[in-house]
């Protein structure tokens, strides 16, 4: 059977169905890491072009549209699935194991979808599978968080479906190709993508749900949903100008929230949002180099973000908390985890020799070339922000800073292996970006390692670190405290429910008044009937038989008189 005769997604979906039938332990864990390896081989082997068409309700669905854009995303999804499942080697929960396979499979299926109906099916598949990685925590908070997550993700799918239906009415086509914003159909599809991509004000599902997932679930969650949205935008809306402004906002606003957030997994979720912004800007610019920048940054980002979530997850796994206020000084007994975290931090901060440096700069370079000075300044500002929360805050407050007195054991070997491989890839891409550049959709004519670029980037980062030292030593840097911070989710978690409660209370009060009035009116009517027609009334009274006979005699006499008089 050729590589192009079986959809890559089906490997994961079939494995997800088989997994519960296997004995617990090694067979299941082995299946979890074998499937992504086989899938990656297929992704690399399958020739470019459209494969595997299928008929459904009169539509021709294309299950495998293979080109450079879909191939690179599918490949990194396979790598992420492998690393995430290796990290989760100890997990024996079949719910999480099955969800991880179905989730990765759905994401890969969506990436290879050649039409919007297939995209929709897999789009909803990612939502349904991934929520179990949150629910698997099995706490009331995780359950409610999962419900919010599911409602928003399914809502995104409903918008996508509505857009697809309208688009089909307009164009008689369901092909998933480049679209132009303008009609209601394209706007609905754009917003559906925007929800999954965590556009500003549509973003809070990300910071709400990722910290609520299991230790390993968060690592897996971090790879797929948002990057599927990035792929979809890159496929459907490259060169859409509004994305430049949306992306810039996305890079900037999360950094303030991340800076004061106490839960380090939520810090990383804000940081993820910030990194998506860079990718969205690249899509908005839409040139070949900018799209290369977006794709390469998504590739590198999946790895370093997974690495950061893995290291904080290892801390949570060993100590039971990921709150910065409860941590500190863990480098003493978790030095390898600390080292991996620092590598992830250096990669996301775009230090030279680390992956972020050779990918993010493609986007910034294109912004600069396009003379978008304000946008460029915004992205430089956001780059300093990345250093503040992901580059410094996460490793510093978890592993260094004050000594919390905790002496947890080092992460288990399989976690260290997963982190080590991911860290290696982060460094390898940074040192040797050629192989990644080869995978990109367009030829790359860019050298990240020029003297001005290296010196400029080091200046930005080292002077920012110097500012951190000054702010820490002067006590201006905010301390880590146990608290939550309000974000836009406050509107649907507190404000709208409180408004609805008030409206319902007011409606209930009005209903009580109306019911009382009706009841009193009814009672008075009933009283009236009772008094006029009831047993106390003249006609309703019980009369003695003699009285009735006398009454009838009187009536007859009266009739007799009238008859007599009428005869005169």
């Amino acid at each position: 059977m050729g590589a192009d005769t079986f959809p890559t997604a089906f490997l994961f979906l079939v494995a997800g169905c088989i997994l519960p039938l296997l004995p617990r332990g090694l067979p299941r864990a082995a299946l979890l890491i074998a499937v992504p390896v086989i899938a990656a081989g297929q992704v690399l082997a399958v020739p470019a072009g459209g494969h595997l068409e299928s008929e459904l309700f009169g539509f021709t669905l294309q299950l495998m549209r293979v080109d450079a854009l879909s191939r690179v995303f599918a490949l990194i999804f396979c790598i992420a699935a492998f690393l995430g499942n290796l990290y989760a080697w100890h997990v024996r929960d079949p719910v999480q194991q099955t969800a991880a396979l179905l989730y990765a499979g759905s994401a890969i299926g969506a990436v290879f979808a050649g039409d919007l109906v297939t995209l929709f099916i897999y789009w909803e598949g990612t939502a349904l599978a991934s929520v179990f990685l949150i629910w698997a925590r099995r706490t009331p908070g995780a359950f409610h968080t999962g419900m919010r997550y599911l409602a928003i993700q399914i809502g995104s799918g409903v918008l996508l479906l509505a857009g697809v239906i309208l688009l089909h009415r307009e164009t008689q086509s369901i092909a998933f190709d480049r679209m132009t914003l303008g009609s209601l159909a394209t706007w609905l599809i754009f917003i559906a993508f925007g929800i999954k991509c965590a556009f500003p004000l549509l973003h809070n599902w990300l910071q709400d749900s990722y910290p609520a997932a299991t230790v390993t679930g968060t690592v897996i969650l971090s790879a797929f949903t948002t990057k599927l949205a990035v792929y979809s935008l890159a496929r459907g809306f490259p060169g859409t100008e509004i994305l430049i402004y949306i992306g810039t906002l996305m890079t900037i606003f999360p950094i303030f929230f991340a800076e004061i957030e106490n839960d380090l997994r939520r810090v990383l979720a804000y940081s993820l949002n910030n990194q998506l912004g860079f990718m969205v800007v690249g899509i908005g610019i839409g040139t070949e180099m900018a799209l290369n920048g977006t794709v390469s940054h998504a590739f590198a980002h999946i790895l370093y973000k997974a690495l950061l979530f893995m290291s904080v997850g290892a801390v949570l796994f060993r100590t039971g908390t990921s709150k910065a206020s409860e941590l500190g000084g863990l480098y003493r007994t978790m030095p390898l985890t600390a080292l991996c975290c620092v590598i992830g931090a250096a990669s996301i901060s775009a230090f030279p020799l680390f992956s972020g440096f050779v990918t993010k700069s493609l986007i910034l370079h294109e912004v600069e070339v396009a003379h978008m000075t304000v946008i460029w300044l915004g992205l430089v500002f956001a780059s300093a922000g990345v250093l503040s929360h992901s580059g410094i805050k996460v490793p510093y407050f978890a592993f260094f800073a004050h000594d919390s007195g905790r002496r947890p054991a080092e992460a288990p070997p399989h976690m260290l292996l997963a982190m080590g491989l991911t860290a290696f890839l982060c460094v390898f891409i940074g040192v040797h970006p050629g192989p990644l550049y080869e995978l990109l959709p367009y030829p790359v004519h860019y050298d990240a390692y020029t003297v001005p670029h290296v010196v400029g980037q080091l200046e930005l980062l080292l002077f920012a670190m110097l500012a951190f030292c000054v702010l820490m030593r002067t006590g201006i840097h905010p301390p880590e405290v146990r608290a939550v911070n309000l974000d836009f989710d406050w509107t649907y978690r507190r404000f709208i429910p409180s408004i609805l409660t008030r409206v319902l209370d007011a409606a209930a009060g009005a209903s009580d008044v109306a019911t009382g009035w009706l009841r009193s009116r009814g009672r008075s009517f009933a009283d009236h009937l009772y008094h006029s027609r009831g047993p106390e009334n003249l006609l309703g009274r019980s009369w003695p038989t003699g009285s009735m006979a006398l009454f009838i005699v009187g009536v007859l006499v009266w009739v007799l008189i009238i008859t007599f008089l009428s005869g005169l």
């Binding site: 004061i260 060993r318 100590t319």
Partner: protein, 132 residues
């Protein structure tokens, strides 16, 4: 996975600077952990700050004398990224601190519909202390 407390005896021992057997606690750390202890030795945090300051100074010199500054945008100004890094980072931290006063709430603000006041289920963790 071996169960453990993640705190308790080890935290007390850490504060006392000794292990359960009375040995110096740091001797029981992994080799890499012992190497990292250098950052916490008295005087070293300040030395790190000074080293960073020197590195920044050298970068600034390199920027002025080694980098070819073509006429053009802000990026070509000598020392632009140095100033931007320091000022932008400080702005972010100060703004974030101000933001906290407006949006910070107690951990139980969202009640039991959030994970913030929950403890992570122990049966899903692999809590273990170092050396145990």
């Amino acid at each position: 996975m071996k169960p453990g407390t993640g705190d308790g005896v080890s935290r007390m021992a850490a504060r006392n600077g000794t292990g359960p057997d009375g040995s110096s606690e740091s001797e029981r750390f992994p080799a890499l952990g012992r190497a990292f202890l250098w950052v916490d030795r008295p005087g070293n945090p300040l030395r790190i700050v000074w080293a960073l300051t020197v590195a920044c100074g050298l970068l600034l010199v390199a920027d002025v004398f080694l980098v070819e500054h073509k006429a053009g945008g802000m990026a070509s100004l000598p020392g632009f990224f140095a100033g931007a890094g320091f000022v932008m980072f400080s702005t972010i931290i100060i703004a974030a601190r101000l933001l906290r006063t407006g949006i910070g709430r107690r951990e139980d603000y969202y009640g039991d519909r959030a994970i913030d006041r929950e403890t992570y289920p122990d049966d899903q963790l692999g809590k273990a202390d170092h050396g145990r």
